[in-house]
């Protein structure tokens, strides 16, 4: 059994996920964490009370070995590591919603302090790809930025949604680090510098990522899932009702392979084998875990695993020694094994008994009342499922319909569908009332996103009045574009927006893709090009029309730019196309974007004006306060009262001004996000190199404030005329 080698009680709250260990003087590791009211504390047990309070740093009154760093804004992310290799020690990087601070703790000076329009939700420090100097990379509102120690912006790209987690990992085994980005649209994207290499779709917001052994990495989602990927393949995952606040890779059992250490919201901490997910160690804290890091905190050459809870409890664990043979749990392995085997035996015996009893009943022949209660059903009962598109009625909106029916007179008591990402929780239940029981159940499904989903269906089959039911389990896949209903071409006006590209593939392959990704039910018999096929969106987003010419030119007409992007990405991966240049035009969307860009300018200028106003007012306050105090000293009560009234009014004005400023800022953020998303969307219309080109070119256009160029790039996919 592994016990902590040290325990600390720091009298500071720790914000979840904002914990790091840094050697700020190059020698002594210090635990650094963000705490309440915009402060960061640095715990340095090796330099008791040596440092004076100065600049940002402030010695804590309570503990001599804790110093506090005033950030004066809510800290949103924090990390430490080598940013300037010449310095020979670690630097601290602190991100807030508007700024990024790189700080040299030892010299108590800023390395740089940058304003970040997109905010910093996550940060990571290290070398990325071929960029020579270490970068402090931050992820914010759909944007990723990387700064070197001088504050030069050396890396910039966009991603699909608000970034929640970042990690550096040698994903493809080329010896260079790639950037893993987890965002709120449930995607993990891998960037090789500014090129997206792969995307993996998960089922919830990715809250944490961490590199493991080789090209493996661990991830955690906001719904309580924790798992490990090996490149693009998910190795294992587990789900708990609690959620993981922090994950870290550490070799706890000294077998040379790092395990995934997870800190949970309920205060649990566990270490799982990176291959199987099997728990090899666990411990409990009294409050939620804030962070899991590692460092040689005892300075004896053996790095420890350091776990912190939100209440400031810190425990350090040393890897187990060889004698323990990796056995860190309470019970002996053999006992556990015997128990497991016996349990298996018991299960098999039970199953055997089930079959025996079954044959007994069969021999008895006739079904009786009791059998009905027991849920005896004919052995040849089968469950049939069909997926179709229901165009809805007055009372129901249109949806995808899953029909489940039995092959005889047995009824379906209830249906449980476990599927990720398409229901509120992880499951959906249909439980008809007693009088509505029948042999058939229709389940309306409304997937919110165009992703292929596996539906794990469990149907309880029996008779009315049964207390025991047979459980039929089967899995159906919901195709990616199931929310698009087939319709005759020409039934509605074709959308003006389109994307156009040429592929050199046989028509049959494209048709195969169509059949796999849409719910077609044999309504089409396309044999050869040219052909046209039309769908209507069940989400009310209008018509989708696809045409293919004999030359291999495909055009997709839809007003939904995301859908066009999805179709291109899906088709490209199906046909294994590496690079694809696409011509696109989305007049309505571009018009909207143009307005957004105008608004961004507007908000920027309003922001400047408001800040100037504020400064003016605060000057006024200063003078007024002096006047009022003067009046008080002179016992001129009347004037004093007047001044203070004025001061009160001014204060109200100031607060109002601040509120306006806040609104303005959030509007600005929203619009900036939209701009970033637009670039991302334009990128998604292309595949491979052209995709990267579009994103970089768009960035340049925005930097140069060349709106027309921006739209041109989005249309034809390149900058040069």
């Amino acid at each position: 059994m592994l016990v902590p080698v040290f325990t600390l009680k720091l009298n500071h709250k720790i914000n979840p996920r904002m914990v790091a260990v840094g050697k700020y003087d190059g020698v002594h590791p210090c635990l650094t964490a963000a705490t309440q009211i915009g402060k960061v504390f640095i715990h340095n047990p090796y330099s008791r009370g040596q440092r004076e309070s100065a600049l940002r740093m402030m010695q804590s009154n309570q503990d001599s070995d804790v110093s506090l760093l005033n950030i004066n804004q809510t800290v949103s992310c924090l990390t430490s590591g080598v940013l300037n290799p010449q310095l020979g020690c670690d630097s601290l990087v602190v991100g807030t919603q508007t700024n990024l601070l790189a700080y040299d703790v030892f010299n108590n000076s800023d390395l740089f302090y940058k304003e970040i329009a997109d905010g910093a939700n996550a940060t990571v420090l290290g070398n990325l790809g071929d960029i020579s100097s270490p970068l402090a990379i931050i992820g914010g509102n759909c944007a990723l930025q990387g700064f070197d120690h001088k504050g030069n912006d050396l890396f910039w790209t966009v991603t699909g949604d608000i970034v929640r987690s970042l990690a550096l990992c040698d994903f493809d085994g080329d010896g260079k680090k790639e950037l893993l980005v987890g965002s709120e649209d449930f995607d993990i994207r891998v960037f090789k510098e500014d090129e997206i290499v792969t995307e993996m779709t998960e089922t919830e917001t990715i809250t944490t990522l961490c590199p493991m052994n080789g090209n493996r990495f661990g991830y955690a989602l906001s719904n309580g899932t924790v798992g490990v990927y090996d490149r693009t393949v998910r190795y294992w995952r587990i789900k708990s009702k609690n959620y993981a606040t922090s994950i870290h890779a550490f070799d706890l059992n000294s077998d040379g392979v790092r395990e995934l250490i997870t800190g949970w919201s309920n205060g649990k901490i566990d270490a799982r084998s990176d291959r199987t997910g099997e728990v090899i160690f666990k411990d409990n804290f009294t409050s939620s875990i804030a962070g899991v890091v590692e460092g040689d905190y005892r300075m004896d050459g053996n790095p420890q695993l350091i776990c912190c809870s939100v209440d400031g409890e810190v425990r350090g664990y040393l890897p187990s020694s060889q004698e323990m043979k990796g056995n860190m749990m309470d019970t002996s392995v053999e006992q556990e094994l015997v128990r497991e085997l016996s349990q298996k035996k018991q299960n098999l015996l039970l199953e055997l008994r089930n079959y025996e009893e079954n044959t007994k009943v069969e021999l008895n022949g006739q079904m009786s009342e009791v059998d009905c209660q027991m849920g005896v059903i004919p052995a040849n009962t089968q469950l049939q499922t069909t997926l179709s598109v229901n165009l809805g009625s007055d009372t129901q909106s249109c949806h995808v319909e899953l029909t489940i029916s039995t092959s005889n007179d047995s009824i379906i008591r209830a249906v449980l569908i476990f599927a990720e990402g398409i229901f509120e929780g992880e499951s959906h239940v249909i439980h008809p009332s007693l009088q509505n029981l029948s042999t058939r159940i229709r389940v309306p499904i409304l997937p919110p996103k165009d992703v292929p989903v596996d539906l794990h269906i469990k149907a309880f089959v029996g008779y009315k009045g049964s207390t025991q039911f047979h459980v039929f389990e089967l899995t159906r896949q919901l195709p990616r574009f199931s929310m698009y209903a087939f319709c005759r071409p020409g039934s509605a006006l074709e959308p003006k927006s389109f994307v156009k590209f040429t592929i050199s593939e046989r028509v049959q392959r494209v048709v195969m893709w169509l059949n796999q990704n849409f719910l077609l039910l044999g309504e089409t018999e396309i044999q050869n090009a040219p052909f046209q096929i039309c769908f209507t969106s069940l989400r009310g987003a209008g018509l989708l029309s696809m045409k293919m010419k004999a030359s291999g030119e495909i055009s997709v007409n839809t007003d939904d730019m995301d859908l066009a992007g999805d179709i291109i990405q899906s088709l490209a991966s199906f046909l294994a196309i590496e690079d694809l240049q696409v011509e696109a035009d989305f007049p309505t969307y571009f018009e909207r974007l143009r307005k957004v860009l105008l608004k961004v300018d507007e908000y920027h200028s309003v922001h400047q004006k408001l800040t100037a106003d504020m400064a003016d007012r605060s000057n006024l306050i200063r003078s007024m306060l002096v006047q009022a105090e003067d009046a008080r000293l002179l016992r001129d009560m009347k004037n004093m009262k007047k001044r203070y009234m004025e001061l009160n009014d001014l204060n109200k004005d100031l607060i109002n001004g601040y509120k306006i400023c806040c609104n303005n800022h959030s509007e600005l953020l929203g619009n900036l996000k939209e701009v970033n998303q637009a670039i991302q969307r334009a990128g998604r219309l292309r595949v491979g190199k052209p995709k990267t080109q579009v994103i970089t070119a768009c960035r340049d256009a925005i930097r140069n404030n060349n709106v027309n160029m921006l739209f041109r790039i989005m249309r034809i996919g390149m900058a040069s005329s």
């Binding site: 500071h12 709250k13 705490t35 309440q36 009211i37 402060k39 804590s60 009154n61 789900k239 708990s240 009702k241 309920n266 002996s332 053999e334 006992q335 094994l337 015997v338 128990r339 085997l341 016996s342 349990q343 035996k345 018991q346 299960n347 015996l349 039970l350 199953e351 055997l352 089930n354 079959y355 009893e357 079954n358 009943v361 079904m367 059998d371 027991m374 059903i377 004919p378 052995a379 089968q382 008591r413 209830a414 476990f418 229901f423 509120e424 929780g425 992880e426 239940v429 439980h431 008809p432 009332s433 509505n436 469990k458 207390t467 025991q468 039911f469 047979h470 459980v471 039929f472 389990e473």
Partner: protein
């Protein structure tokens, strides 16, 4: 002394009932004892441990399920005859496994509890107690509520025979012959009885009891009256007590109290100088502990606590150290034993697997035939659905022999599912359509591997009644699921009690009409929890209840043709009126309902609510302040500048937060009940005041007792 016990798993039998495992007294030269256990397959297994392996002594043939197992024999001789209760039959086995007795009792129901003392046999069915001597009927008693256990004070110490029944209505009934000597009220429904020290202590009259809400107590049963010695309050919210035993595991010459609970807790209590129990050791198992006994089983010279769990695991907690500090050769031998055990298990498994594969194929082939049927035997579910007094919520505990795959919870009344810390299953709420399928709650619990026990917490609202259903699917092929139903009664938050205050202002509801005693009883059963389903004997009956949330009370007295319901809470009367008239209409019985409303009762109820409400409001306010105060503390470095009140909040912030967390939505529930009270008060006057509810809520938001009272008076 630090107690270190090591867990050893011996064997697994079928599903067991409480009190079905005993240790045979050691005989001959051997100091280790043999274990007898009876399971639901009807098999009595007797085994001893040799070199860490279970060596069977005998095994009886399968049959009906065994509900109790006990040892007996002539008084003052070793108790080594084995008696089991199967259905309504008692069978006796010698310690070698020879059946010497088969006694078919005249009971119509199956036996629920059994006690043996010499030639005397005490048996209980649901409500009936029978005393046999040499298999001849001696005495008989009909209890008012379900009997959970029976015990008789030691006949070796006392000359008299005093059977004691543990009854579901929180009462121990002490009998003499066929007559009730007296009743003893205990703090919870007693589930198990035991003799203190194994023989009733010095006086021979000390009786231990355990309740289904986890409390323990000791009562001296004298000939005239009971003497309460001590009671524990189950502070840690542990599970219900299923079995108790006395054994000196510490080796200090005094017998400790061993307790097994339904949440898998095994506890050892020793006694301090005042003879009060002190918890010395506890260990959590993953399933209900059905039987417990101390003895020497695994190895000569090492005492241990032997337990049997619901799924039939016989597990010891041994004082024998797991890794002995002997020479390296010894170590090797132990692991060799283990290796052999594992190897034999593995080969056994392989054979089984092969057999199962064959059978599975056969089963699948039968799907081709049109005449074959698929019938899977019913698996047994251990369930408990009880009202918790402390937070006025129901807890539902489901336990299955094998791992549970998932549980679907469905309800046709609005109830809230609360989170239970112990429960590791992933819960997912599904959207439900109250029309046309009448679902108000659809939730799935997907269990983690090896979960055999699931605990849920449910909060109900009084006045809204219906059924909660749980569909349990275990991880066993062929997959089946079983549905269990639980009634949410109209007055779901009421609990039976035996005394009420008579001087409170009461509202009265009187029913008269052409109905039988049985009918009116069935209505009461329908409305109230914890009422025995059997119609009570006699002409009329009175039950008392207490509202666990508000502490208001209800008195029901009824007989053929008349029922009188008195409560100080007008909402309780209103709910009863609605439900009773609905029920009577369903049965087409003409009812005359009259009520007598006492205006003072509303004021009285509000006064009862007042301290609770005030406490909650204050708590909410304090909790709100904690974070801000903590920030200040960090900012300023100390808290000397704060007023004492705020300093107090900071000091006790942890307790405050804990209390706040423990009772979610408490304030909302209080508000809801006050609103009901308001509506009901005017409903009896014939006015509908629903439109004034927003005003009431406004008053509650800035609560002040007087203004609330005035509002109730004037509105």
């Amino acid at each position: 002394m630090e107690l270190n016990l090591n867990r050893v798993d011996y064997i697994q039998v079928g599903v067991t009932s409480p009190k079905t495992m005993r240790l045979l007294p050691a005989s001959g030269r051997r100091a280790t004892q043999k274990v007898v256990i009876g399971d639901h397959n009807g098999v009595v297994t007797c085994f001893g441990i040799k070199k860490g392996e279970a060596m069977p002594v005998f095994k009886s043939l399968p049959g009906q399920k065994i509900s109790r197992l006990d040892l007996g024999g002539a008084l003052n001789t070793p108790q080594e005859k084995i008696f089991v209760a199967i259905g309504s039959e008692i069978r006796g086995f010698t310690k070698r496994g020879k059946q010497f007795l088969s006694f078919e009792t005249n009971l119509t129901e199956s036996i629920k509890a059994m006690h043996i003392s010499g030639a005397d046999l005490f048996l209980c069915a649901s409500y009936i107690f029978n005393h046999y001597c040499d298999c001849k009927d001696q005495h008989y008693y009909l209890s008012g509520d379900k009997i959970n256990d029976v015990m008789c004070l030691s006949a070796e110490k006392l000359s008299r025979i005093t059977p004691i029944l543990a009854c579901q209505d929180r009462v121990l009934r002490v009998l003499q012959g066929s007559d009730l000597m007296y009743e003893v009220e205990v703090p919870g429904p007693p589930t198990v009885l035991g003799l203190h020290n194994g023989d009733g202590g010095d006086s021979g009259e000390d009786l231990l009891f355990g309740t289904s809400d986890g409390k323990l107590g000791l009562i001296q049963i004298t000939q005239a009256y009971p003497v309460h010695k001590w009671e524990t309050i189950n502070e840690k919210k542990r599970g219900g007590v299923l079995c108790i035993d006395s054994f000196d595991i510490l080796g200090d010459g005094v017998k400790e109290l061993l307790v097994g609970r339904d949440d898998g807790m095994v506890e050892i209590y020793s006694f301090d100088s005042a003879n009060d129990p002190v918890l010395r050791y506890d260990q959590a198992f993953s399933e209900s502990i059905m039987s417990i006994q101390g003895g020497c089983v695994g190895k000569d010279g090492y005492d241990e606590i032997l337990t049997a769990t619901y799924s039939g695991w016989v597990t010891g907690l041994s004082t024998e150290p797991a890794h002995k500090e002997a020479g390296p050769g010894d170590e090797l031998k132990i692991s060799q034993e283990m290796q052999n055990k594992i190897a034999s298990l593995r080969s056994e498994l392989e054979q089984l697997q092969f057999k199962v594969l064959q059978e599975r194929e056969k089963y699948q082939q039968s799907a081709q035939s049109s005449t074959a049927v698929s019938a899977v035997p019913v698996f047994s579910v251990n369930e408990k659905f009880t009202l918790n007094r402390d937070d006025a919520s129901y807890s539902l505990i489901l336990e299955v022999q094998t791992a549970i795959d998932n549980v679907l919870v469905q309800s046709d009344v609005p109830v809230d599912l609360l989170d239970v810390d112990k429960n590791s299953a992933v819960v997912s709420f599904s959207g439900c359509d109250s029309e046309p399928n009448g679902n108000f709650l659809l939730a799935t619990y997907r269990c983690q591997a090896n979960t055999t026990r699931l605990e849920l917490k449910i909060r109900s609202i009084e006045g809204q009644y219906g059924t909660l259903q749980a569909y349990i699917t275990p991880r066993i092929q062929p997959k089946t699921c079983q549905v269990r139903q639980y009634q949410i009664k109209p007055l779901s938050l009421h609990q039976r009690t035996h005394v009420i205050e008579h001087d409170r202002p009461m509202n009265t509801l009187t029913l008269t009409g052409q109905f039988s005693f049985g009918e009116v009883h069935s209505w009461v059963v329908f409305c109230m929890p914890e009422v025995p389903e059997k119609t009570p004997v006699g002409e009329s009956v009175t039950f008392y209840f207490q509202n666990t949330f508000l502490d208001t009370q209800l008195e029901c007295t009824y007989r053929k043709g008349e029922g009188v319901f008195k409560s100080d809470n007008i909402s309780t009367i209103s709910i009863l009126k609605d439900v009773l008239s609905k029920e009577a209409t369903k049965k087409k019985i003409n009812l005359n309902i009259s009520y007598d409303i006492n205006e003072d009762s509303v004021k009285h109820t509000l006064k009862m609510i007042h301290p609770k409400l005030e406490h909650q409001l204050l708590l909410a306010k304090k909790v709100q302040l904690i974070d801000a105060l903590k920030e200040l503390q960090i900012h300023e470095g100390n808290m000397d500048f704060l007023i004492p009140e705020y300093r107090g909040i900071l000091e006790e912030s942890d307790q405050l937060l804990q209390e706040y967390k423990k009772q979610p939505a408490h304030l909302e529930r209080l508000y809801g009940m006050i609103t009901d009270l308001f509506i009901d008060k005017f409903k009896f006057k014939g006015t509908n005041v629903k439109s004034k509810v927003p005003v009431l809520l406004e008053i509650l938001d800035s609560y002040d007792q007087n203004s609330l009272m005035t509002f109730f008076d004037t509105a």
